[in-house]
Symmetry: C2
Subunit: 120 residues, 2 copies
């Protein structure tokens, strides 16, 4: 069931490479990748690297009292990583090529996150 | 001169509260704030909290070999924080209210960053 949501997300965003539903501890529930991936940057590894960062962002937001950070977007030269909090324990991440449609990615993360939350 | 760029950025984005040019070590070169600020979240403190996070994101991007993370956007309940790398040592951050125009903020960060880089 999680896989279907991930496929819906990845397959409908031009330039999307992969998606993952992961705990903030870096352990994935499920992931989905399509087409040629970046070498050394599969979605499990991306998620693990950034789960720590996302935890730090939550701590910083708490310290600043600016509320929960629901969305974090990281735009690097070769990859855009979109993330969205699903619950206090899990987040969704979507990896999109630089020339891909990150705007549609963000939109689909917003659409898919509540459906996933309902199943967690 | 940095102040003028910061003013241009903050004053032209609806809902923008403040901007800062800061080192990844958390030390600000200059900052500018306008209107009522969020309690406990002045731009110097925001910058300091997130300079550490941005450094971690650079390390993660390096580990994944996805290139330099030029833009990082953090959308929390009460504040959106837009950041853009200026050089390998400095970044720009702009704080925008949730109902503000983050898209225009991101656009102006892209416009202002090269001008600031030329003066660093």
């Amino acid at each position: 069931m999680f896989r279907e949501h991930l496929m819906r997300m990845v397959d409908n965003v031009p330039g999307a490479l992969s998606g993952v539903l992961m705990g903030y501890d870096g352990i994935a529930i499920d992931s989905y990748a399509v087409g040629e991936q970046l070498p050394g940057a599969d979605i499990q590894t991306i998620g693990m690297e950034f789960s720590f960062v996302l935890s730090q962002i939550r701590k910083a937001s708490e310290a600043l009292d600016v509320g929960t950070p629901s969305e974090v977007t990281i735009q690097a030269d070769n990859l855009t990583i979109l993330t969205r909090a699903v619950t206090s324990e899990y987040f969704l991440a979507l990896a999109v090529r630089p020339e891909g449609n990150a705007g549609k990615g963000r939109f689909l993360l917003r659409v898919v996150a509540p459906s996933m939350k309902a199943e967690l």
